[in-house]
């Protein structure tokens, strides 16, 4: 229960919350996915089509299937979290915290001070 001066014990910081949510939601998704897949598919049937050189029993197939789905869901969740955490903050689309779009000069015809005609390099 190491807590610095500024942390309240038992309250998780953002990173911990993220990791906790990623693992838990991936687990739930993998459970649901495993149910659905193996309700429709008998893993024993896989042995005929299985490409690896060892036989895969039902138990192993169920476990591997679950772990595989868990991994895939965890990768997706982690990347999503990463993209959201590193992306623009709330209110970005209304201009909050965003620098204004760069100013563009009007064309040379409208701005005689500007020495060259940009229309030349279309």
């Amino acid at each position: 229960m190491a807590s610095g001066q500024d942390t309240v014990s038992l309250r998780w910081n953002e990173r911990r919350r993220d990791i906790g949510i990623i693992i838990w939601i991936s687990f739930l998704s993998a459970c649901a996915g495993t149910f659905v897949i193996f309700a429709l598919l008998d893993p024993d049937a896989l042995n005929q089509a299985w490409v690896l050189p060892w036989e895969m029993g039902r138990k192993l197939a169920y476990s591997l299937g679950f772990l595989f789905l868990f991994c895939v869901a965890a990768i997706a969740s982690s990347l999503t979290t990463f993209m959201i955490r590193t992306g623009p903050r709330r209110g970005h689309h209304t201009g909050k915290g965003r620098k204004p779009a760069p100013q563009i000069k009007p064309d040379a015809a409208e701005d005689p001070e500007f020495g060259i005609d940009p229309g030349e390099w279309r």
Binding site: T86, G87, T94, P100, A101, Q103, K105, G115, I116
Partner: protein, 463 residues
Amino acid sequence: MSADSAPGQSLYRKEPKIYPRQVNGRFARLRDLAMYVLLGLFYVMPWLTINGHQAVLFDLPGRRFYILGLTFWPQDFIYLALLLVAAGLSLFFFTALAGRLWCGYACPQTVWTEAFLMMERWTEGNRQKRIKLDAAPWSANKLLRKSAKQFLWVTFAVWTGFTFVGFFTPIRELAQNVLSFSLGPWETFWTLFYGGATYANAGYLRAQVCKYMCPYARFQGAMFDPDTLIISYDESRGEPRGSRRKGIKPEEVGLGDCINCTLCVQVCPTGIDIREGLQYECIACAACIDVCDQVMDKMEYPRGLIRYTTENALKNNTTHVIRPRLLVYGTILLLLICGTLWSMTTRTPLRADLIRDRNALYRELPGDMIENVYNLKITNMDDVAHTYSLLPEIPGVAEVESSRPLRLEASSVAGFSVRIRMPRDAGSGVQSLTLELSSEDNPDIRKKIDAKVLLPVSSGANR
């Protein structure tokens, strides 16, 4: 959000639509070349035939991939994994070496956006004309130009979707089906799906995908170091910026070399100002370099106010092209590629699985022989037909008999019923027996197979 008059919001303006100005120059030519080569490969490849197969065909129902004359089977999926690792490593390598080369020249998002922009230019004209057209009220001219653009975009997108499906279904058959209006439902779906995605991504989303959706754009910065090639504005040379007439030397007016023409902003597909420094939005397309070089030529100033450079070079430090990070990436990449090529060229184009017939234990034959029955599945991964023979590794240990000759056509799979006979006194219980399957016409093609043979548990007793 035109009614953006809420207090505190008035400082911000709506993000303007980006109308990238066309640019000519060295890097624009390079980008065009990349576009023609990559799109050319995509659209032409499925129509080529190598070794009697479509040059690139991912035959999912047949469970095999034909890639440039090579045939890959599900068992070869390790090569796919290695290929992905190699692709990832080369991304690291080139990012560390030269920044976002991938984004600027090779990413499908960039390449198709370029193609769609090109069609937009054909129909709606250059940047100013496009801005004026969008602002103008609807007229016959606007309708004509807009519909011409949509026609080109949709046609190109559907053709793209069709080509995409052509990588998975033989494209000549597919074309015949299209012409006879007998395209299957899934082929139609995937054609429209991929076509629709191309249309939306290249027509409308464009560089927004890079800014908001692309994971590579977010983490590529981690692979950068001060020696990485970046596109940068030379602030010490350009500032203070300001407009002036042609032919005036910067020092005469107390300005830097930047004439503040904002052309670098106008050509930018992501709508940023490169003069504000390296930004994560920058996809390193080098359009600003080309346009700035042209301005510098006009002004008779030296080129390179915006250029490919490195952080070290900008700080007047020496740039090290060869550095540990690159050596590590490069070495691993080279080893991986060589290993994969070596393993691919020396792989045995034969696979065999021997599975005991589960319905029978064993059969006792006259002469104290015990017979076990198996199913043998052989995959001939070679381009020519072969006849194989199956023999025990140690001659004479067992008799092996197959229901019919073990002959397989090129690239085919077949199942055979195989009987193995061993003398009763060869052992007790489960015995391991090593067999060898070899091609009769090419002794290099051989495979060892382990068989489990059941014999009566104790000799003399009946079961």
